[in-house]
Structures are given as structure tokens and as C-alpha cells.
């Protein structure tokens, strides 16, 4: 349940940005979470709902964009999607691969209310 820790860090950043923008309510939060980030998107949304209660971000709608696993394949030499279930290159099925994407855990934007 490290999603609670992550949601708390997320809230700290959002509160700071919202304060700098005049302290109006946060209505939406957009995140990018990679397939290999080791973070459950639903658990993170739920944790954020709990930790944001009574704050400027209470009730904000959290949208999570899943970033795919991307790999540089040692077997076929191509860079492209990885297969997380097979732990292999999705193109040729080879492994080992070098991970080039999918570890993202990023806040991309927030929507705040106008006056």
C-alpha cells in the first residue's frame, strides 16, 4: 500500500501549485503512470480521494494515463513495445531487453476553478 505515500506526495505538490495560482479549488488531476511503475492506478486514485479530504483538492477527479512498457530488444535490436506478461520484446518475443519506457510516475496537469 505504498500508494498512500505516493498520494500524499502528490497532494503536497498539488496544494503548492494551487496556492501559487490563487488558492482556488482543484477540480481535476491528470497523471501518467507507467506499466512498470509498480503502482496500482485504482489504489492511487482511491488513496488520493482519502488523503485529499478537507483540502483544496477534495473531490478532484483523478485521471490516470497508463504509459506502455517500452524496450530496446537485445535479440532483434528493435525499440518498441514490451510484453509485461512474458517479460519480453512484444515484436520478436526475445529477452533480455533494456527498459526504455514504462517507469513513469508523473503529475502532468491540474484543472482549477476560475473566480
Amino acid at each position: 500500500m505504498h500508494e498512500v505515500s505516493i498520494a500524499s506526495e502528490l497532494l503536497t505538490t498539488i496544494e503548492r501549485v494551487a496556492r501559487e495560482s490563487g488558492g482556488r479549488r482543484v477540480r481535476a488531476v491528470d497523471l501518467v503512470v507507467g506499466e512498470l511503475a509498480g503502482v496500482d492506478a485504482d489504489a492511487l486514485s482511491f488513496a488520493f480521494e482519502i488523503v485529499s479530504r478537507g483540502t483544496i483538492a477534495e473531490g478532484a477527479v483523478v485521471t490516470v494515463d497508463r504509459a506502455p512498457l517500452l524496450v530496446a530488444c537485445g535479440a532483434c535490436g528493435l525499440e518498441g513495445p514490451g510484453d509485461l506478461e512474458a517479460l519480453a520484446c512484444a515484436g520478436c518475443g526475445g529477452s533480455p531487453v533494456r527498459v526504455t519506457g514504462g517507469r513513469e510516475l508523473r503529475l502532468t496537469s491540474i484543472d482549477i476553478e476560475d473566480d
Binding site: 505504498h2 505515500s5 501549485v17 497523471l31 511503475a37 529477452s95 533480455p96 508523473r106 496537469s109 484543472d111
Partner: protein, 220 residues
């Protein structure tokens, strides 16, 4: 309503503090190991063996992370090395902040190595950089050879995998070749050492690897 674009790493604060810890360790030439595994894989037993081998030649300090209790710190204390117990009181992992808070309890000028034994968990510790030099993971053969497929993130972030309890191989169904292949599938640089903390089998190559890393940290 209007949108503010941010592009902010969610764990940036932890990352910044981890880098602060790392700079601190680097300045003192201390090699720092973040030891991670599921509960019961044998982290503390492997650490005790490693201390017995290396503590006559290196000055080693230990931070023990557990949800509750100081069982592990009591075990480590018997080896005559400085040890601090962190209790997270529920949290499933250590973070850079928890480690930073304990650093003043060590004289880093008097240490060659700091071992941080993380909370037993195959998921959460992978996400939190502590400022360590290397992440070392322990998987015991009693846990099953399917773990790299089920918990790929942990195997992806580790620098070394210690396959522990190989003395149990005759009694459990565990394919060392399969586990090794899957553990390396998303991690080309992973070094794998099959070992037994009980019999001592396979530990020599691990000690030599560790000595190489300690020497490197000193030289920088």
C-alpha cells in the same frame, strides 16, 4: 475552469532527499547497500553471515527497517556493529526521509559500509530511492521461481539478486535457470548469486563482489 500544465515527478521530493543522502555517503566514501526482499527470504541471516565475514576487515553500520519490533537489531547488535532500528509503524517500505533522520546517529567518517535492511515486501521498497549505492534483492527458493514474473519491478530495479536457501533445492520445486532468466529479462545488468545463508554455500563470489564495490566507493 482552466488547466495548469505541470510535468512533475510525483516522487521528486523523495528523489531529492535520496540524492542528498547519496552525496553525503559519497563525500565520506561509504558504500551503501539497500537490502530488499519479501518477509522471510533470509535478509537478516545473509546479513549476519556477511558481517561475520567482512566486519573484521571493514567498518560496517546497519539500519534495520521493520514495521514493528527490534528483533533484527538485537540479532545484528551481537556482531558488535553499530545498528539503528527504524519502525515504520505500518508503512510497507523505508523512504529517503526515514533514512536521512537516522544518519546523524552514525559517524560516517568511521564507516566503510552502511547496510540498510528494508521492510520485508516485494512491491513497495522498489519505488523509493534511499540514496544507496546498490539495491540488493534476496529471493529464497522456498518462495517459488515464478516471482520474477509476478513482481517484475523489484527485479528490474535490483543490481544483485541473491537466490537464497539453495540448501532447500532438493525439497522444493524451484528452477534456478528459469528464475535467473526471468529475473534478468528486464534487467540486463543483474548479477545473480545462488547462495545459502545456512550452509555458506555460494557466498564466496558474493563477498568478492561486495569487496569490489566497497573498494570502488572508497576510491571515488
Amino acid at each position: 475552469m482552466h488547466t495548469i500544465a505541470i510535468e512533475h515527478e510525483i516522487l521528486a521530493d523523495n528523489e531529492a532527499l535520496a540524492n542528498h543522502n547519496r552525496a553525503h555517503f559519497l563525500a565520506h566514501g561509504v558504500y551503501v547497500l539497500n537490502l530488499m526482499s519479501a518477509p522471510g527470504a533470509g535478509k537478516t541471516s545473509l546479513l549476519e553471515r556477511t558481517l561475520a565475514e567482512l566486519s573484521p576487515r571493514y567498518r560496517i553500520g546497519v539500519i534495520e527497517g521493520d514495521v514493528y519490533g527490534r528483533e533484527d537489531a538485537d540479532r545484528i547488535e551481537k556482531h558488535g556493529v553499530p545498528v539503528v532500528q527504524i519502525n515504520t509503524g505500518g508503512a510497507c517500505h523505508l523512504d529517503a526521509h526515514l533514512v536521512h533522520d537516522q544518519l546523524e546517529r552514525f559517524d560516517l567518517d568511521q564507516l566503510d559500509v552502511l547496510v540498510i535492511e528494508n521492510v520485508g515486501n516485494l512491491v513497495c521498497p522498489a519505488e523509493f530511492d534511499l540514496g544507496e549505492t546498490d539495491k540488493v534483492m534476496v529471493l529464497s527458493v522456498a518462495e517459488g521461481d515464478d516471482k520474477p514474473k509476478k513482481y517484475p519491478v523489484m527485479f528490474h530495479v535490483a543490481r544483485v539478486l541473491l537466490l537464497n536457501k539453495i540448501d532447500l533445492l532438493p525439497h522444493v520445486s524451484f528452477d534456478v535457470a528459469r528464475a535467473t532468466r526471468d529475473a534478468r529479462a528486464l534487467n540486463l545488468d543483474l548479477d545473480v548469486f545462488p547462495v545459502s545463508a545456512t550452509t555458506g554455500e555460494g557466498l564466496e563470489p558474493w563477498y568478492r563482489w561486495l569487496e569490489g564495490r566497497i573498494a570502488r566507493a572508497k576510491a571515488r
